[in-house]
């Protein structure tokens, strides 16, 4: 009697397990009969018809179509498939399967098919799309600053790094550790995570320089410069860093599409020699014009920058338009050469900003907007690509109606990232695009997140994202300790006959002048 009872129980358990298993298997079946729908499903993020790097984290998305059940099938020409089901529209791709699938699809397309079921047994099949997988890897990390929507004030902020091959995001340094001060302008030498600098404003204020395992805290303000150093760029030899020095103002608009404008009352360019702990400059970089946003060429023979001339206090902001220039530099002798204007705002009627050269020296991406240079707040800002062989430039097909700005090249020069506010018009998000051998950019795709709803809940900007080749290993503790240690004063080159006060003569800075950066 007892045995029969046990057998019955065992049978019931097995039956239940089989029912569950059958249910699960049925959940992954591809609907054999479905009503075709001649349109793409509405998905977020838009990962349709894009180029995908072989090492990217799974591109999870959400199908924004009302239904009770969803099926998505990824398939390639080799017959490999990933079949996914969802009851809420979120498509989460298992990382292991995704990696194998991408490897098996390298230099080929994969197809994505979507079915939805709104009634029992009634499936709709949407138009499928294809994505192309390339073997050109994207750099595995990006570093960025995470900040709120405020323009003047800040509270919590930090420099973070995000692994692009998975979803792991960790802080490099948070301002919780540094008395909630402002930290900004994080920059790396050739995407090397072992060579980094970042500025801090409000005590402890200064520049953290992490170089060859050592962290220094620099006071880059000198009596010959109008401000502490601001926008940086490392020379390929890793010993020089070009900076701008700026007196920055911010204004707010009462109507129209701009909410604010950031502009400079004055700006010049200086170069910091790490070994000598000294700033230097040359007359062409410290004129009465506004020179700013320096960036070295891949071989270090040129310093590219933007400049705006003929500006005074009465110049309307809409007339402040920057040209793109470069100045030759002989690193072996430390001498400056000729200055060339590459793009004149008089020709374009627009203002150039944020030039950034590809590591292979072939291309330059820059922003162009109606006026000014701080394009993060300019809805008119778009990205352009210049071929450095013929110096011709074209508008990239990655732009939207709103802000496209700060961009960075991957170390193989095949990928670039940029920020765009196209999702909601307020917050900067990171997008990636592939540049093929003909210089054609692919449709950009949004930085993937494990949960596609991430961006709905996220109320911070991805500010100044840059590619890095690996994880930053220096600990927050080490950086913090350096920030509270004695600051190292930077000297100004006594051999130079000009200062960086937008004037040609060497005069001491008026210490009573208030300025911000």
């Amino acid at each position: 009697m007892e045995k029969k009872k046990n057998d019955l129980m065992l049978g019931l358990v097995l039956l239940l397990l089989m029912v569950i298993l059958a249910g699960r298997l049925a959940g992954y079946h591809i609907p054999s009969r479905a009503e075709p729908k001649d349109e793409y499903p509405d998905i977020f993020p838009d990962y349709k018809e894009i180029v995908v790097p072989v090492n990217i984290a799974p591109l999870n998305f959400k199908v924004n179509e009302t239904a009770r059940s969803y099926r998505v099938v990824f398939s390639n020409e080799a017959g490999k498939k990933i079949v996914l089901r969802s009851d809420h529209g979120k498509i989460s791709i298992p990382r292991g399967k995704w990696r194998k699938f991408l490897k098996a699809t390298v230099n080929n397309d994969y197809k994505v098919e979507t079915w939805t079921r709104d009634q029992p047994w009634h499936w709709l099949k949407y138009k499928s799309w294809s994505n192309h997988v390339v073997d050109d890897k994207i750099d595995p990390y990006i570093a960025f600053r995470q900040i709120n929507a405020g323009y003047i004030l800040w509270e919590k902020m930090g420099i973070y790094q995000r692994n692009l091959e998975n979803y792991r995001q960790t802080p490099i340094l948070l301002n919780d550790r540094t008395d909630r001060n402002c930290m900004h302008c994080h920059t790396f030498s050739d995407r090397n995570p072992e060579k980094m600098l970042l500025h801090m404003r409000r005590p402890p204020s200064g520049t953290l320089l992490y170089n060859n395992g050592e962290v220094q805290f620099l006071n880059t303000a000198t009596k010959y410069t109008m401000s502490a150093c601001v926008y940086p760029s490392w020379h390929p030899d890793e010993n020089l860093i070009a900076f701008s020095v700026n007196i920055i103002h911010q204004k707010f608009h009462a109507a129209g599409k701009f909410i604010n404008s950031v502009n400079d009352a004055a700006s010049d360019i200086v170069v910091y020699d790490i070994a000598k702990n000294m700033l230097t400059t040359c007359p062409d970089l410290c004129t009465k014009s506004l020179e700013t946003l320096p960036v070295w060429s891949h071989d270090g023979r040129y310093l590219y920058y933007i400049s705006c001339s003929g500006v005074d206090k009465l110049t309307p902001d809409t007339a402040v338009k920057y040209d793109l220039l470069r100045i030759a530099y002989d690193h072996t002798k430390g001498t400056w050469g000729r200055t060339d204007t590459l793009i004149s705002s008089q020709e374009t009627g627009k203002s150039i900003s944020f030039p950034e050269l590809s590591p292979d020296g072939k291309y330059l991406i820059f922003c162009m907007s109606d006026y000014g240079y701080f394009t993060v707040y300019s809805p008119t800002s778009d990205l352009y690509l210049m071929d450095l062989e013929d110096m011709k430039y074209t508008k990239l097909p990655v732009n939207s109606e709103t802000v496209e700005s700060f961009h960075s090249w991957s170390s193989n020069s095949k990928w670039f990232l940029f920020i765009s506010k196209r999702l909601d018009g307020l917050y900067s998000r990171v997008f990636f695009s592939y540049l093929d051998s003909t210089g054609t950019a692919s449709k950009p795709f949004l930085l993937p997140q494990k949960d596609p709803d991430y961006y709905d809940a996220h109320v911070y900007n991805f500010n100044r994202p840059v590619f890095i080749k690996d994880k930053v290993s220096v600990s927050a503790d080490k950086l913090t300790k350096a920030a509270y240690a004695a600051k190292k004063d930077v000297a100004f080159d006594p051999e130079v006959d000009v200062d960086a006060l937008s004037g040609a003569t060497r005069i001491e800075r008026d210490v009573t002048r208030e300025h911000t950066n």
Binding site: I152, R180, A476
Partner: protein, 619 residues
């Protein structure tokens, strides 16, 4: 019989204590004001939870936000505060019973209760402190139950408890737990002071607090030790919170000292004393009376009507209760420019700003009218409020974004961002924040109401407030001036001359900055808005111009200065003349009859005259 009597008095004492605490919360503190001041938001969303799992002590903050969102209701809030204090007292009692007699534990249990009453009397105090205090007590009580178990079991328990406490409730919580465990071990360990479990717990505490900051980017050493007591943190708790945290360890220390230095040395036997039942009968009724007295004393020491009014005035303003704003302001000092700011707003909404503004001591002049000159955390939303009232929507939005940055998703700030963006037609941003608000139990109804507004111009046109703001807001761009907001007012007026608020603020701003000629040449603007007469303070200013500069051309148009004001000016002048224009000598007489005039203001109150400077911390 004495036992029963004693129990009855314990029940009576507790009942009286907690009823009084509830009534105190209800009548005096008013948790709705705590909610208004702190603006807690709690979202049923995994990202919201994840934020608090990133750093040690995050869960204490998470729970605090969950509970304190119900402070929105005065009744629920009072009940919750009373309930939390009850739990804290009950936990204390249970713990102390392991060390003291039942009677002593009963009396001592009220110590943390009284401290918590003190803390909750402060509108800036949040519930994190309560959790950081209570949770270690729960773990310590659980540990007391394991005291007879094997050592390895207790060590395992301590290890798990320490990890949970440190990562979920922070370093302070772990320190408190460690102190209780060490004293428990010493107390129970006869003369063997250095028990292995106590040493293990001390090591665990030191290791966690020392190692985590070295490896985690989220906290530094100071934050690891002190959690929310760290001075660098955004939330700066009251110093009295230390008293709460050390109260239990101090009691246990005293008990340990009594045991080892008093009882064990035999001193206790030499100085024994006992209380007769007769005396006990007499003393017992005194306990609830004494306890009530202590509670009242704590309330007297901690409750500040001024602190309450300082919150209340902004609460009334946020709810458009303008008469209550003015009534509350009578109890507050106008040396606080945010008080003056709300007074001026209330006067405008009651239609008496240019007639009654100088009935209040306008110590901060134009800086009490518009607060934009200093970017400080305290004024961000007030600036947004003012410009929202005025239809200066984009600037209202700018200040709301600054406020959002400082106060991380405060519900009122998010609602302002939503309404401003709907008015401006930026629906994507509005939608984003509506989605966030819809995850809050308290605000999802509000979000549900506004979601249909997105891209629905008809619905927006039907909304009187939005429609009005759209009419008022400028459509031609100009640069906003935070330092000289008068130029904004001019621009607002030039684009929408019916903007009554902009006009009155413009006139008042000119009066505050002694710019009388601007007032005089703009009298015609009153006609455009159909003022029946020239407002009193503007009449007063005009008379001053006419007296000081008779040649100044003033075109009053259809208006004339009232006889009453002229007579008052004569009276004012007579007093001055009688005192031979000696301002100091004339002040008392002038204040009595003319203290509410612009003439008095410009001579005695104006910060330009008195050279009063604002010293406010920015950011």
């Amino acid at each position: 019989m004495p036992g029963k009597l004693s129990k009855a008095f314990r029940i009576i004492t507790s009942a009286v204590f907690f009823i009084l605490v509830f009534l105190y919360c209800w009548y005096y503190i008013n948790p709705a004001l705590i909610y208004f001041k702190q603006q807690p938001i709690f979202l049923f969303d995994k990202y919201f939870l994840n934020k608090f799992l990133l750093f040690p002590g995050g869960i204490a903050e998470y729970l605090s936000l969950f509970i304190s969102q119900f402070f929105y209701s005065k009744f629920a809030g009072s009940l919750l505060i009373t309930g939390i204090i009850f739990i804290a007292v009950a936990l204390t009692n249970r713990l102390l019973q392991h060390f003291f007699s039942k009677q002593a534990a009963f009396l001592l249990q009220f110590i943390p209760g009284l401290i918590l009453v003190y803390l909750h009397s402060h509108y800036e105090y949040d519930l994190r402190g309560d959790f950081i205090f209570m949770v270690p007590l729960i773990f310590a009580l659980a540990y007391c139950r394991t005291i007879n178990h094997k050592v390895y079991f207790r060590i395992l328990f301590l290890m798990l408890s320490s990890l949970i406490l440190f990562f979920f409730f922070g370093g302070t919580s772990l320190l408190l737990f460690t102190a209780i465990i060490v004293f428990t071990e010493i107390y129970n360990g006869s003369r063997r002071l250095f028990r292995i479990t106590a040493i293990f717990q001390l090591l665990m505490c030191l290791i966690l607090i020392r190692i985590v900051p070295l490896t985690s980017p989220y906290i530094n050493f100071k934050m690891a030790y002190l959690g929310i007591l760290c001075p660098g943190m955004y939330y700066k708790p009251l110093k009295f919170l230390y008293t709460l945290y050390i109260s239990i360890p101090v009691l246990l220390l005293i008990r340990v000292i009594i045991k080892y230095a008093w009882e064990a040395t035999g001193l206790a036997g030499r100085f024994t004393f006992s209380i007769s039942d007769q005396v006990k009968k007499f003393l017992l009724p005194a306990i609830p009376i004494v306890m009530t007295g202590l509670l009242i004393l704590i309330i007297r020491l901690s409750f500040s009507q001024t602190a309450k009014d300082s919150v209340l005035i902004h609460y009334y303003a946020a709810h458009g209760k303008w008469k209550s704003v003015l009534k509350t302001s009578n109890a507050l000092s106008t040396t606080d420019r945010t008080v003056l700011f709300e007074i001026n707003r209330a006067l405008y909404h009651l239609g008496t700003l240019p007639d009654n503004a100088f009935s209040y001591a306008q110590y901060w002049g134009e800086n009490g009218l518009i607060l934009t000159s200093h970017y400080s955390h305290d004024v961000l939303m007030y600036c947004s409020d003012l410009y929202f009232d005025m239809g200066h929507i984009k600037e209202s939005l700018h200040w709301a974004y600054e406020a959002e940055t400082k106060s991380d998703q405060a519900p009122d700030v998010l609602k302002r961002i939503v309404t401003d963006n709907i008015i401006l037609g930026d629906y994507a941003v509005a939608e984003k924040f509506l989605k966030i608000l819809s995850k809050s139990v308290l605000h999802k109804k509000w979000a549900k109401h506004y979601l249909p507004y997105l891209h629905n111009e008809t619905l927006i046109r039907q909304d009187a407030l939005m429609n009005e703001k759209r009419r008022m807001m400028p459509d031609k761009d100009f640069y906003v001036s935070t330092q000289q907001p008068q130029s904004d007012l001019v621009n607002l007026l030039s684009q929408y001359p019916e903007n009554r608020m902009a006009l009155e603020y413009f006139m008042l701003y000119s009066l505050f900055t002694h710019d009388l000629s601007t007032v005089a040449v703009n009298i015609n603007l009153l006609g455009k808005l159909n003022y029946k007469k020239i407002p009193t303070h503007i009449e007063e200013a005009l008379l001053l111009v006419m007296t000081l500069n008779p040649d100044f051309p003033i075109d009053l148009g259809k208006y004339k200065i009232s006889e009453k004001t002229k007579e008052r000016f004569m009276g004012y002048s007579k007093i001055l003349i009688a005192n031979k224009s000696d301002r100091v000598a004339a002040q008392a007489d002038l204040f009595q009859d003319y203290g509410n005039t612009y003439w008095y203001y410009i001579y005695y109150v104006s910060p330009i005259t008195t050279k009063r400077k604002i010293y406010e911390k920015t950011n």
